[in-house]
Structure formats: structure tokens, C-alpha cells
Assembly symmetry: C2
Amino acid sequence: MKTYKMVLSYDGTNFAGWQIQPNAITIQQLIEEKLLILTKEAISVVGAGRTDAGVHALGQTAHFSTHFPIDSDGLLKSLNGMLPQTIRVITLEEAPLDFHARYSAKNKVYHYHLSTEKFQSPFRRLYSLHVGQKIDLEGLKQGAKYLLGTHDFTSFSNQPLSGACGKNPIRTIDRLEVIEEHWGVRLEFEGKSFLYKMVRNCVGTLLEVAGGKRDPEQIKTILEAKDRKLGGKAAPPHGLFLVRIDY
Amino acid sequence: MKTYKMVLSYDGTNFAGWQIQPNAITIQQLIEEKLLILTKEAISVVGAGRTDAGVHALGQTAHFSTHFPIDSDGLLKSLNGMLPQTIRVITLEEAPLDFHARYSAKNKVYHYHLSTEKFQSPFRRLYSLHVGQKIDLEGLKQGAKYLLGTHDFTSFSNQPLSGACGKNPIRTIDRLEVIEEHWGVRLEFEGKSFLYKMVRNCVGTLLEVAGGKRDPEQIKTILEAKDRKLGGKAAPPHGLFLVRIDY
């Protein structure tokens, strides 16, 4: 038995997300299907971040274990030859037997893109949220500061239906930077782990601050209330990129 | 009668190019359709560069003339509201009555993107040509130098069927730069005007040099032969961007 680690990039536009689900095409499913064809073994692939429908990845990381004798370089080429161009396996290599894409992760980086152009560039339409309003950058930065650090993020998490994931709502955001681009703003999130929809809920609420609908200080009140109903709605998936997982 | 100038950006992926043609969706056609709805006038729109199917534009420029009383800002918003997100009119303003998008142009800038990653990023698949080979950058730069300046570009032009365009094959490339990016190479072309498919034919031939199939000096021989059969085949359209037209 050997364990393999793969780093993947995908354009999430036309996928129902990472995780296998009935009646929809997901990235995990396509990779498992190709691995079955290539190895004749039913191999389960575990991703570090279960990106939702429409969310993109520059550096998703996954692992799988198999008894099948694998030539990493050959399998990497074969997988990319069979997968659609919207999914690329960037690297594939043997990892320690106990490597787990999710549990071994030390740090995750997500970026959210807001385009503030008057008319959104056609080349950003699938990869950034078009904000059709003037943005209060200072307010956005102040609001972001309240999210930094260790908090109970209940107000910014959509509890999934499955009980298995209904876990401790305490999380730490180690870095939340607001970076200006010529086309808008990039929000960079970094932390060991995030709750379900936490990044998109944080962005959605910060957008209310950036649009002048809330004061930055309200982020603190919302956090303390531990009530999802008080947080803003999730920002749409197409602005979100899973950038990197560090181990 | 007044004349208006518009600057447009479009993702050419799913269009049959700029110019109206039967049984295909083109950018010119969509804009004329929306102008007809908005003004109740049949308005002809003339583009500076007749980009082919699949070619993208960051700054295509077009003009039209009409007796209809136009509020430029209002029409700009209405057009963008009606056009698909793959086409954006960036600016729309009144121009001198004799302004002509094509004949008044002083300078055109085209970029061609080559991605040299081992496995092409999903986010570049529609916007750059994936070169599945090691590239000879020095050869590419040397070959490009032979194309610079004023030449008879017959060997690099596909004559269109229409006689109206079968014109003088002498053109001047004022700038042709090979710029390295972290994902590959960008070729920047600049000149007052280009022959039909000239940029893509130049890139296709330069790619043969970059791939070691031709010596850079052969570019000179091909130019001098004035024979399209000697030039390389056109590079595919999805790597090409019409970047800017200067007046």
C-alpha cells in the first residue's frame, strides 16, 4: 500500500464542486473515474478543501492510497490526457503512508476577487464578483481587522446537514489582507481551517460594510452574537479561489 | 448626423468573429441588433480590426453614424445591459463626423500568448496557445527581428476571397517584442495596419523557429520569396488579443 499526494487546478465554473454527489458532475468523481480506468481499482480520492459548486482552485490538494504499482510521472500524464482541460493535475508524487490531504494540512490560502470596474471585463466575468457600486476600501479594511484572529465563527458558517461536520465553531484567521488591483480588490484569507462557507460568508458581510450598509464595528457585534442570521449572505462562488494548501 | 466612437472588449471564444456573416453569431451583428432595438434605426457599425472567430479583444474600436438623438452615457449603459457578458462596450462618445474606426487608425497593438507550462492552467486554456515543447527563446527573438520593419508580407498573409481586400502587401511592423511571463511568452505586435491573418501567420512561423524546425534566418528567406506556401500555418485564434487601437 502506498499513498500519493496530488496538487490540482480547476476552473469550477461548470462543476458541481469538488465532492461526489448524485446527479451532478464533480471534480472528485471525474478523477476517481479516470483512476479506475487507469488502474482497474476503485480508488477514493480525498481533497483538502471541499470547494463548492462554481468555486475555482489554483492549488487544491488531494491524496489517495492504493496497492496498484504506480509510476507517478506516467499516471500524471495519463490523468491529464483523460481529464477535461478545465481540470489539471499539476503534480503527483508519493507521500508518507499517513499523509492525509485534509488532516495533515497546516495552512490554507483562499483569495476572493471583487472587480470594481464600471463595466466588468468579459475576461473577469467568470473569475470575480462584479461590484456594481463604489466601494469603501477603508471600511472594508477596518471590517476585515475584526475577523482576524481566533473567534467563534458561528455567525459566518452555514452548518451542513450532515452531523459529521457539525463541529467546533472556533477558527483562527491568521491573515486577511485587502489588496488593491487595477481592476478591483483581492481579499486574501489564510488559516489552518475554515468552517463550511466561512470565507464566502465573511466576504458577503464585508461587502455590506464596503457598500456602506453596515459600520465596520458591526463585524465585531455579529461575531459575538454567534448567530448566522446576523451575518451577511454568502458572496457568490465564482469570485473564490482555493489558492494553496501548506503541509 | 453625428458619429460615435466605441471601444469594446470581448471574449471571442464562442463568436464567429467580429464581422457579420450568415448563419453564425458575430460581435458586429449583436451590437447592430441592440442598436436597432434601442434607436429603431438600422445602424451600421464599422470595426477597426475584423477579428476572426475565436480571437479576443481588449480594445477593439468601432464607429457608427446616426441621425438618432443619442445620450452617449445612457446608450452605453443600455447596450451593456442588453449584450451578453462576453461583450462589453467600455466607452462610447461622440467623435468628429469624419472619424472612421479603420481608416483613421494610426497604430494597432496585438498580443499573442504562448503558455509553456508542462500542463496548461485551466485558466489559460481559452486565452493562450499551449506549446507542448521546450521553446528556443533566443531563436524566437532572433526570428522576430527579421519581421520587424517594412516588408512585403505576402508569405505571411492569407488573401481573402473578396477582391476589395486584395491590396498592397507592403506593411510595417513597428514593434515586435518577445516578453517572458511566469506562465510562458507574450508576443507584442505593433503597426499601423496588418494583412489578413498576418499576425497569426507570423506567430505560426516563429513557433517553428522556437521549436527548432527552422533557423531564425529562414524568416528572411520566406519574406523575400513572397510565397504564402513557404510561411508556417496560422497559429490558432484563441491565443490572439486585439489590445488597442491608437488614433
